[in-house]
Amino acid sequence: MSKQEKHRILMVSDFFYPNFGGVENHIYYLSQCLINLGHKVVVMTHAYQNRSGVRYMTGGLKVYYVPWKPFLMQNTLPTFYGTLPIIRTILIREKISLVHGHQAFSTLCHEALMHARTMGFKVVFTDHSLYGFGDVGSIHMNKVLQFTLADVTQAICVSHTSKENTVLRSGLPPEKVFVIPNAVDTAMFKPAPERLSNREIVIVVISRLVYRKGADLLVEVIPEVCRLHPNVRFIIGGDGPKRVRLEEMREKHSLQDRVDMLGAVPHAKVQSVLITGHIFLNSSLTEAFCIAILEAASCGLLTVSTRVGGVPEVLPDDMVVLAEPDPNDMVQAITKAIQILPQIDPQEMHTRMQTLYSWHDVARRTEIVYNCALRCSSQNLLERLSRYLPCGAWAGKLFCLVMIVDFLFWRLLQLWQPDRNIEVVPDIYLANHPRDKTSRDSNIYDHLR
C-alpha cells in the first residue's frame, strides 16, 4: 500500500439495506473494503419504514437514513431542492471530500450529485443497469441521466456492455467511464463440503419471478428439460407475479415431484439453496452484470445463462454455458451442461472464483477512480453551466436554470446557517480494525501490478 491521501467518501443511493439487491450489496461491500483501505465512508439513503436517523454497521460504517419517505419502488419523490439542506449538513458534518452516487433509477442519488456539484465537490457515479433507446420511459430516463452525467467528474460501469450503453445514453467521453465489475464474497458462498452424487441432477433457479428475469422462458424450458432428462429435478427460489404461471406449468405437466417452488429466499439462505444443486440456470432477458451467476459459480455450480447484456463477460467460457434467450437453445444448453457436468469440480471452481473476483480488488480499482476524480480541476458555476447548455435546445436551458436556482439556494442556506455553525463529527477509529483481511488478498494485487 502506498502512502496515498485518504478520502472521505459519501455513498448515496436510494437502495440500501434493509432493501436487498445487487446495488445494496455493491455499496455495502465496497464501503467495507474502502474502510479497510483506510478511507472514511459514510452511506446516505432514505428512511425505510421506521428506520430513520443514523445507524452504524460492521466496521464502523455510518449510515444516514434521511427522513424522506419512498413513494414508488423504494424511490424518494423527486423534489429537486428539498434534499439540499440535509445533504449540505451531512457533507459538512462528515467533512466529505468526494460523493459517490449509485444507480440511475435513484432520485436521491441524482439530487445528491447535483447539490454536491453545486457545492464544489467532486462526484463519481456508478451505473448498475442497462437501458434501451426505444420507448418513452427510456428516453425520459436517459435525459435524466444526461443531466446528472453532464457534470459528473468520473463514471463507473459494472461491465463493458454497460459502459457502451452509458456512453451512448449520456454522451460522456468514453475515457471518463471506468469499468469495474461487481464481485462476490467467496467466504460466504462456499461449495457443499462433500460432492453431490450425479445420479440425480438438480438445477437451481434463484431470481425474482418477473418478466425481465425471463420467468416466461422458464415456463417453456422446464417441461422440455424434464421430458428429455428423467433424472433432472428443478429447485426454484423466488417470488413474483409470474409465480402463478410456473405453478400452472407444474400442474399442467404433472411435475409436482420434480419442480420445487421455494418462494422468496432470503439472501442469507441463498447459499444453502445453491449448494443443493449441480447447475444454476439464469434466464434473464436483460442484465448489466449478474451477481447471481457469481454467487452460483462461487458455490461450485455450473452456470447456464442467456446471452444478454454483460453476462458473457462475467465468467470464463469453461465455467458457463451460454444460450440465446430462446427455449430450444436453452434446452440444448442445459443438455450440454449436463454432459460436461462430470468434469466440473466445485471446490476447484470455488478456488478459481477467489482469484477471479474480490471486493478488495474492486475497492482498489475504485480508489484509482477517486484519485483520478480528485485530480481533476475545480470549475466555477459558469464553466459548469457551459456543460449543461449543449444538452438540448430546451433541456439545456432548463438544466442551466435548475443549476442556477440550486446555486442561489445554496448561497441562501450559507447565509441562513453558516458552515461554521454546523458541528463537525469526530472520527471514530475502531480498535480491532480488520486489516488482516487485505493481506490475504494481497497476492492478487501483486499479480495485478
Partner: protein, 388 residues
C-alpha cells in the same frame, strides 16, 4: 397499411422527441470531445489525421449495411465511434508487446490496461437503424386517405347530431336514415364478403335484432341520463371525447372484428370506441323524445361500430373503390359542412389538407432524422407468445 395505427401520434409527439433526443446527443458528443478536453487533441481531428495514413478498420457487415441506410446524424455518430476505436488502436500499436485486451469482467484489472481503456472493439456490436423502413411519399399519402375518410364520417355524424338538436330532422327521417344505412352497410358487406352461408347471415340478423331491441329498451334511461348537467358541459365533453376517439382510433383495421381478421383489437382502439359511444349517449340525452333518443343512438352506434368495418371491407375488396368512396365522402362532407358554417368548413378542409398532404410530406422529411440504436444492452424479445 404502413402508416401504423396512430398516425396522429406519428405526426406529432414521438418523432419530435426522438429527433430532439438525437440532436441533443449529437451536440453533446461534439461538445464533450471538443470543449471538455482542451488539453487532449480532439478525437475527431485525430481520426481525420490518421484516416489519410491508415485505412480505417473494416466495418462489420451488419454495421455497414446499417450505415448505408442511416441518416447524416447516424453517420456522424458512427464517425465518433470510429474515431474512438481508432484512437484506441493507435494506443495499442505503439507497444506491440502488450497482451491483447479482452472484453471480460473477471480476473481483476487487465495487465497493461487501465479500467477506462477504450478498445477498438468499443461499440462494434451497435446496430443502427436495423428495422427502419423506407417510406414512399405517394404510398403514405394514399394510406392517409383512410384517416381523412374516417374524419369525414365523424364530421357527418356530428352534422346529423347538430341538425337533430336544431330539430331540422324529425324522428321519422332519422329512422329512415338508420334503415338506409343498415341496408347499405349490409349490402356492401354481402358484396365484399368472401364466404357466405345462410347460417352466418342468420346469426348477423339475429345479433342486429338483439342490438336494436336493447337500444330501444334502454333509450328511456339515456333520455334522462344527463338532465342535471348543462348543455355547455355536454358539448365540451362530447367534443373532447370525439377528439380522443379520433386520436386513438385504429385506422388500419376495425375494432369490431371483421370475419377473417387475425389480430384482436388493441387496448387503445377499445378506448377509442368507448369514447365515441359515450359521446353519442351524451348527445342523445339532450333530445326531446324517446324515439329521437333511440334513433340517434342507433344511428351513432351503427356508424361508430360498423363504418370502420364496412370501409375495411371495401378497402380489402378494391383499393381503387376505396379511394373513390373516400373522395366522394370528402366532397359530400365538405359541401354539407360549408352549408352549416363557414369557419367549420375552413377547419375541416385544413384538417384534410394536413392529413393528406402536409402530414405525409412531414413524415417523409423527418424520416431522415430517424436514428435507432440497438445493441447487446437491449432487452431480449421472447420469440413465443405468452398466453396468460
Amino acid at each position: 397499411m404502413e402508416l401504423g395505427t396512430r398516425p396522429f401520434a406519428i405526426f406529432s409527439s414521438i418523432p419530435s422527441l426522438h429527433l430532439s433526443f438525437f440532436l441533443l446527443f449529437k451536440n453533446i458528443l461534439v461538445h464533450k470531445i471538443e470543449n471538455e478536453n482542451p488539453n487532449l487533441p480532439c478525437s475527431a481531428t485525430i481520426a481525420n489525421r490518421i484516416s489519410s495514413q491508415t485505412p480505417p478498420p473494416p466495418l462489420s457487415p451488419k454495421t455497414s449495411t446499417a450505415l448505408r441506410r442511416s441518416s447524416p446524424i447516424a453517420l456522424f455518430n458512427h464517425e465518433i465511434a470510429e474515431s474512438v476505436r481508432m484512437e484506441a488502436s493507435i494506443g495499442r500499436r505503439s507497444s506491440p508487446t502488450q497482451p491483447k485486451w479482452r472484453k471480460v469482467a473477471y480476473g481483476g484489472m487487465q495487465p497493461g490496461f487501465q479500467d477506462n481503456h477504450t478498445d477498438e472493439s468499443f461499440l462494434e456490436d451497435m446496430i443502427m437503424n436495423a428495422s427502419v423502413v423506407k417510406r414512399d411519399l405517394l404510398k403514405v399519402m394514399l394510406d392517409s386517405v383512410s384517416i381523412s375518410q374516417y374524419v369525414c364520417i365523424v364530421a357527418l355524424v356530428v352534422l346529423v347530431w347538430t341538425y337533430t338538436l336544431r330539430s331540422s330532422f324529425n324522428e321519422n327521417s332519422l329512422m329512415l336514415l338508420d334503415i338506409i344505412l343498415l341496408g347499405a352497410g349490409f349490402f356492401v358487406f354481402l358484396l365484399t364478403a368472401e364466404m357466405l352461408s345462410f347460417d352466418l347471415l342468420l346469426s348477423y340478423v339475429l345479433k342486429i335484432f338483439f342490438f336494436i331491441t336493447g337500444v330501444y329498451f334502454l333509450s328511456p334511461i339515456y333520455h334522462t341520463l344527463t338532465r342535471s348537467i348543462s348543455s355547455d358541459s355536454i358539448w365540451a365533453l362530447t367534443t373532447s371525447l370525439l377528439v380522443l376517439h379520433l386520436f386513438l382510433h385504429n385506422y388500419s383495421g376495425s375494432t369490431v372484428k371483421a370475419p377473417g381478421a387475425l389480430e384482436n383489437p388493441t387496448f387503445t382502439s377499445n378506448i377509442s370506441l368507448n369514447a365515441s359511444i359515450v359521446a353519442s349517449l351524451l348527445i342523445a340525452s339532450r333530445l326531446p323524445s324517446r324515439l329521437h333518443v333511440f334513433a340517434i343512438v342507433l344511428f351513432s352506434l351503427q356508424v361508430f361500430l360498423f363504418a370502420p368495418l364496412v370501409s375495411y371491407c371495401i378497402k380489402k375488396c378494391s383499393f381503387r373503390l376505396h379511394l373513390f368512396f373516400s373522395f366522394g365522402l370528402m366532397a359530400a362532407t365538405l359541401f354539407f359542412v360549408y352549408k352549416l358554417h363557414g369557419l367549420l368548413f375552413v377547419l375541416l378542409s385544413g384538417i384534410l389538407v394536413f392529413v393528406n398532404l402536409l402530414g405525409p410530406y412531414w413524415l417523409i422529411r423527418i424520416q431522415e432524422y430517424k436514428f435507432e440504436i440497438n445493441g447487446p444492452w437491449d432487452e431480449a424479445k421472447l420469440c413465443f407468445n405468452i398466453t396468460e
